[in-house]
Subunit: 262 residues, 2 copies
DNA sequence: CTCACCCACTCGTCTATACGAGTATGTGTG
DNA sequence: CACACATACTCGTATAGACGAGTGGGTGAG
């Protein structure tokens, strides 16, 4: 078992009333912050830390679980504990649904990803009619059934976003919107062709920890929150014509908005 | 020791390859989701769960720590483990800095909080000149020193937000902006009086787990992420005149934006 | 040389135990 | 009645040990 290089991690302060596992977590966190362990680097193994600090293994694991909860490290069974690298971030601009970005052959996600040098994929496409949740129904003005379009977005093989669009049946049924591939410009282009000229969007943003199914579906590491975005599209008559519910891996996104000062 | 009411929690499946502590966490999560434990209610104590499932205490604690990490429960030393109540949410509208909301005697935070029936407070006010971080300096066009205004916002005694405004010294020094209380309408009103007519704002939003100092300062429960918002204000000449860096308790906020479809 | 296997090392799960510290309650004393 | 204290509960911290399972490298057989 390799010893830990001296100077990287200090000693425990037995006079402190701070719990031992917190002191160990503090020292590891500081070492990571100061770059003594770089992104992707392997931390000392549990048994090395046990040796170094002279504590039991559970105490060391407790310290490591603190850092996992902070999203600083992740562990790989059989390999070790590593400093979590920050994945490339996708920047969502607030004008991404403007008409000038729409009349192209490809979906916005694909265009943006390729511009950023990434390989985009869309999978888990599901299009079906269903009964909306109370929240979605209220946002759409109270329909009892809606068309739901579900899809998952991946960048370079990593799932980053899961989105569901809901549309009232009287708008979407029997149109290209109800097809798996709605065609160039996406469903907003189709809505406008169908006479629902779009006026504005409302977006609501929350952040929270993921549910277990979100962890699975987005393959989220411990300590990574999700951004929950609900966008409602309104036409010129003020009618809500679509609600899009999106859950994003928070470490993969920055949302950017431009607002008038008026 | 009180027994757990039958039907609330099931039994373990020893044939399953799902870890015992995960099965216990699953059952507790399901019971919470289905309302068998209501918001604020006390879960069975660790020793009751030990009794019920016939496992060791560490296994039960492991299960509970999973739920804590998900933000579903929080524990209170000496009392028990409770279903985490969802605090009242503060809704931030994208037009909250529009001029029509400005020319009033009170700060926007105070007005909004009182309208929502809450008791607002602002503390930890610090106003000083300092060297900006590389990021802030870049956003402001590269000044070597800036005025920093730090403050913490509380609702009904609970800290919800920590914000720092940075302004170039040539704009702010010697003006009311450098005073602890900049006067009615806040620093945006003062900037316009000083001839820096505001044109637009840019906001960048991220979500992540809090640092230990953020946990302390915002008194965050385990499993609560933060929303990190950086707003840059631009004047009519296109010059960035302020950067505001805000860290919010994610369970206390919804951000709402309205965007044109143009 | 190649490939299968073994072994050493990693983290994951679980048990059993011990003591400390915060909280609430009831009881007995003044 | 009021208050201090004992007590029984809560969760927090820590130890020591055991076995399992995933990974990777070295070694020996073919």
């Amino acid at each position: 078992m390799a010893a830990i290089p001296s100077g990287v991690l200090g000693a425990l302060d037995s006079t402190s009333d701070r719990a031992v596992f917190r002191q160990i977590a503090d020292q590891l966190r500081e070492a990571i912050d100061k770059g003594r362990f770089k992104e992707g680097a392997k931390l000392p193994s549990e048994s090395e830390l046990v040796e170094h600090y002279g504590v039991s293994r559970m105490t060391v694991r407790n310290a490591l679980s603190v850092l996992q909860g902070e999203g600083l490290v992740h562990s790989e069974h059989g390999k070790g504990v590593f400093v979590r690298p920050r994945p490339p971030v996708r920047r969502l601009a607030s004008d991404r649904f403007a008409r000038r970005h729409r009349d192209q052959g490809k979906a916005a996600f694909t265009v943006e990803a390729e511009a950023a040098g990434s390989h985009p994929e869309v999978d888990s496409l599901e299009v079906k009619e269903e009964r909306p949740t109370q929240d979605v129904s209220a946002r759409l003005g109270g329909p009892r059934r809606v068309l739901a379009r579900r899809r998952r977005y991946l960048l370079d093989g990593r799932p980053v976003e899961f989105a569901t669009s809901y549309l009232p049946l009287d708008i979407a049924r029997g149109t290209p919107i109800a097809e798996p591939n709605p065609g160039p410009g996406g469903i907003y282009a189709r809505l406008e062709e169908l006479g629902h000229r779009l006026d504005h969007f409302e977006e609501e943003i929350r952040a929270r920890m993921p549910t277990p199914s979100e962890v699975k579906f987005l393959r989220l590491a411990a300590g990574v929150p999700v951004i929950h975005l609900v966008r409602t599209a309104f036409d010129k008559e003020g009618r809500p014509v679509e609600v899009c519910d999106t859950v994003m891996a928070a470490d993969a996104y920055v949302l950017a908005y431009q607002l008038p000062a008026t």
